[in-house]
């Protein structure tokens, strides 16, 4: 059994939690831009939380279901519809046979995660199903989804709870598990960071303004990195850097004085001064950030960064408990 991609839309790729363990040979991590939403989509269906989903971006993507299929959609609100009816998100949905699911466009956020129960049957490459576009590996034939692609499902012995709300096209439940963050996604985002390795290279004025100014997210932002436009960051120390490993959320400042935040499809190494590192708890927010949105940075301590991460993990655990109680 499979689902068919009828329309590719802006960009749709297979992503899981990423390809971990190969950065020392230059293989990038990839994976979901919003791993928090991906984990919830999987948990709603009883999947392992790291299972691969389809990451749908912005608008236009459509899938055809030839048989009854048990799915969940989380992340940004891209207005998923079947036969013109809104498909509820952040909850399990049983799509009826011969229906078409269309993502009409982003109402809130930017990226949605479409999970199917038991996951997609995609061969793992170096331990992951994530799509690595530049190396043509992972995902479906190493590329973004295209019209007429058939994506096989792992197993269709549905383990379906009672879905009391029914219509001709799908059945679902009245409850949902949408975290507050996704209710409140707007054009302005607050991003917390800890000092980067070259934080002290920047002038005091730049350090201060970095937290005062609203940066604009540039059009050229993508899964590799988000480029920001604000003021020109100035350094007291002018020193050539020797390339070394960078991580998810490294904020590096290129020679033009503009910050770039390295994200899911980042290269494994970089050679620009790093003013900061986005805290792990805030990385998923970039998944829902569009070009033209605005960012304001807030510096925190390492302990605060960990507290924020524990909070996020606790939210995930609470969601898990409420899903279990609803079953």
């Amino acid at each position: 059994m499979s689902i068919i991609c009828l329309k590719a839309g802006t960009l749709a790729t297979i992503q899981d939690i990423g390809r971990i363990g190969y950065q020392n040979i230059g293989v990038i991590v990839s994976g979901a831009m919003d791993s928090f939403a991906l984990k919830i989509a999987n948990r709603l269906l009883g999947n392992h939380q790291h299972e691969a989903c389809i990451e749908v971006t912005l608008r236009g993507t459509a899938f055809h279901f030839s048989e009854d299929t048990y799915i969940a959609i989380t992340g940004g609100d891209l207005t998923p519809t079947i036969q013109g009816m809104d498909v509820p998100q952040w909850r399990p949905v049983l799509v009826r046979a011969n229906q078409t699911l269309r993502f009409k466009g982003a109402k809130k956020g930017l990226r949605s995660y479409l999970a199917v129960q038991h996951g997609f049957s995609i061969e793992e490459k170096l331990g992951s199903k994530s799509t690595y576009l530049r190396a043509n590996m992972g995902g479906l034939n190493g590329r973004a989804l295209q019209e007429q692609d058939e994506i096989q499902l792992m197993n269709t012995n549905w383990d379906t709870p009672v879905l009391p709300i029914e219509n001709e096209y799908f059945s679902t439940v009245s409850w949902h598990v949408r975290p507050d963050f996704y209710k409140k996604v707007r054009k302005r985002h607050r991003i917390r960071f800890v000092e980067g390795n070259e934080y002290q290279w920047f002038t005091t004025a730049t350090q201060q303004n970095f937290e005062r100014v609203h940066f604009d997210v540039a059009m050229s932002s993508d899964r590799m990195g988000y480029r920001l436009k604000g003021f020109k960051l100035q350094k007291d120390v002018q020193q050539e850097m020797v390339s070394e490993a960078v991580t998810n959320g490294t904020i590096q400042v290129a020679n033009d004085g503009q910050p770039i935040i390295l994200l899911a499809d980042r290269q494994t190494t970089g050679g620009y001064p790093r003013i900061g590192q986005v805290i792990s708890a805030d990385l998923h927010r970039f998944g829902q950030m569009k070009p033209g949105d605005q960012i304001r940075f807030e510096r925190v301590t390492l302990d605060e960064a960990y507290e924020a991460l524990y909070d996020l993990e606790q939210q995930l655990n609470h969601i898990e408990v409420s899903i279990q109680l609803k079953k």
């Binding site: 363990g21 040979i25 293989v27 980067g196 490993a245 991580t247 490294t250 290269q267 792990s280 960990y306």
Partner: protein, 245 residues
């Protein structure tokens, strides 16, 4: 010796630790880094991966995995740093490193090396001399990065150092051997790039299906040697008749 006489340890965000070696980049120091990596690997700490570069060892970890091991008020970084500092303080005997050389055949010039003439002209030498200089020494692989299996090499003959192309090419074939500034390297996958391309190797540097996906790893030496276009095609497993048809 002790590692902590040569290193500085610091956090990199909330999910990575940097161990920086204080001396200038050198093969000798790199051997010490490799030794430290072995010691860290043997300690079976809850990290996700270790990424070495010219002067820095970066240890990436999932803070939530580390947290499960902690039974005091430390945060994940502090806990891991403490464990690594124990390794850095140990008295270590430096053993002789086994030098591994990977030989890479290169078809220089012609359609595979469109910039060979330009590089030769830039230095007022003949293309043949460029090839002699380029194959005349071994290059140390300090790290893989930029693309899967792409080696950052040290040791280019300074008299071959050539600025990048004015306009980068939109497509450079996998296997292309190039020079950019005082660096030389081999493109492991097809990608855009501004390097001066002087030749191409039929050897694959990245094979995702293979058990060992990359030909190279950090810490080995590369030795380029020249081959003819016929040898290139034989090694590439291509059918000569077909390519002349």
């Amino acid at each position: 010796m002790r590692f902590n006489e040569y290193t500085t340890i610091s956090p990199m965000g909330d999910a990575a630790i940097r161990i920086e070696f204080n001396e200038a980049v050198s093969v000798q120091q790199y051997h010490m880094m490799q030794l430290l990596i072995q010691h860290i690997e043997d300690a079976e700490l809850p990290y996700e991966e270790i990424v070495p570069s010219f002067q820095v060892i970066t240890i990436l970890f999932n803070p939530l995995d580390v947290k499960k091991k902690i039974h005091n008020r430390q945060n994940p970084y502090q806990w891991l740093e403490e464990k690594i500092c124990i390794i850095l303080q140990q008295e270590i005997t430096v053993t002789e490193q086994v030098e591994e050389v990977v030989e890479i055949p290169v078809c220089y010039g012609g359609e595979f090396g469109p910039d060979l003439e330009e590089v030769a002209n830039y230095h007022s030498i003949t293309p043949k001399e460029v090839i002699q200089k380029h194959t005349g020494r071994d290059y140390f692989v300090y790290m893989l990065g930029f693309a899967p299996g792409f080696p950052y090499l040290g040791g280019l003959d300074e008299s071959l150092a050539t600025p990048r192309k004015q306009t980068p090419r939109l497509k450079i074939e996998a296997g292309s051997v190039g020079i950019a500034g005082s660096q030389t390297g081999v493109y492991s996958i097809e990608t855009p790039g501004g390097w001066q391309i002087i030749g191409r190797t039929p050897t694959a540097l990245f094979t995702p299906e293979a058990e060992k996906p990359t030909l190279l790893r950090a810490g080995v030496w590369i030795r380029f040697y020249p081959i003819s276009i016929e040898e290139y095609h034989v090694l590439k497993g291509e059918n000569l008749c077909q390519s002349f048809a």
